[in-house]
Symmetry: C2
Amino acid sequence: MQMKKLVVIGVGLIGGSLALDLKRAGAVTQVVGVGRSWDNLERALQLGVIDHATQSAAEAVVDADIVLLATPVGQMAAILQQIAPHLAPHTIITDAGSTKSDVCALMQQYLPHHLARCVPAHPIAGSDLSGASAARYGLYQNRNVVLAPFAETDASALAEIHAMWQITGAHLLQMTASEHDAVFAAVSHLPHLLAFAYVDMVAQKDNAERCLALAASGFRDFTRIAGSHPEMWRDISLANRDALLADLHRYQAALTSLTHALENCDGAALVAQFERARHVRTQWEHQRR
Amino acid sequence: MQMKKLVVIGVGLIGGSLALDLKRAGAVTQVVGVGRSWDNLERALQLGVIDHATQSAAEAVVDADIVLLATPVGQMAAILQQIAPHLAPHTIITDAGSTKSDVCALMQQYLPHHLARCVPAHPIAGSDLSGASAARYGLYQNRNVVLAPFAETDASALAEIHAMWQITGAHLLQMTASEHDAVFAAVSHLPHLLAFAYVDMVAQKDNAERCLALAASGFRDFTRIAGSHPEMWRDISLANRDALLADLHRYQAALTSLTHALENCDGAALVAQFERARHVRTQWEHQRR
């Protein structure tokens, strides 16, 4: 692929790393970075992540080939509203949000006549790092990127976004927004909620101080995601509320039956569940390599 | 400290690493390894983890200064029964089990006249690795070791075990067996159960294959402990049943209130809980460094 102008709105780990890979591959002539913080935009310029910087999304998107929304989902409504009047007919809009049904709804609301050029997407490469200085080459090598096009999305727009991500070495998948959200409720959003709730529960125990002093590597790994950004996870939880509630209920049912097994000293039931889980976890680890 | 004979029953990561450190420090003249697998004992001899090997615990403990039970807790009843008639009055018995109330009960049952020389203990250095080849120098450097002596334990036995672990660079703490078990129910045993139940729940979903294909680093860390040994965790769960059930109920109550917040789209309640958890988790990470 060869594009003249890529606009990255939100120049952090996700948008910045994509820009770096595309620039290195010579796939883009000019990357324009848009953001609210001048400090961050200046760092992005210095690091060669972007070629031009502006705080005006409306101005930036004029004549763009592709516009990537790489901000938290909570900021996207305002951005879509700002850019809508300034989009050329050929400009492709894509995003990197962790939930898709809500982003799709926003695009339908603010870009109802532009859906043929909208390709909602989710590159799976989150991390605790943020800001332009977190951007790095090769972030997406062997990572998954989910594309969740509309029925209205035209084949050429989908192919362009597909080709763009392929340059980074990512593995591409396509599914509907609701399929996407059901999957991520289970493998990402639920564990975050479980980890937040767990740490909060331990912290409220009478012996919390002693507990934390003796917590070791099992605790460390299990709770790592409880260090994630509270507002971002509130937004994700609310955006993916239905799928998340379904999985929360499923999980509580699983805990209730585990509790019964323990109350009844049913060692066979415990070991059967632990064995099934270990089998799945071990296979999963294996297949990742 | 200077001892002539240390007997390590169960020569794996825990017992083997202690033996290596004590030998390097010149704190022990002879380490005798006891185990059920000759292959493992031969590897331990080759690696210099032990000086002599035998499959007979009864024979090994004769004239020992210290006997360390480093097997799974499930094997300890049989071992205590075997060694009881062969213990010299001065021989100190200690262990490395992850639960303490049950080990204390076993010592009270099988060594009722030897409690003055019993020092139940728990070095916090678990790992997925096992066998003599997992043993390594420095494993306990800056790790916690909990000593949970009986009221009957004499001061000299306690001091000896304290001195032994200090050689490894470990940080020593003393508490009662039930205090210990309450702490580890919260920071170790509960997370294991939560992780097992979570992986098992995901694996039973209709879209399980797609879920596992898209699970990323958050899932990886959150579920690492679900790869742990099923029988060992059945034993730990049953041994620490009361404390674990109390924490399971506490956790389910926390999940219920989280579910209500989500059902009511109560973003403020969600963010407050996530914020508290992140604060505690971040501080914890900081203090570990």
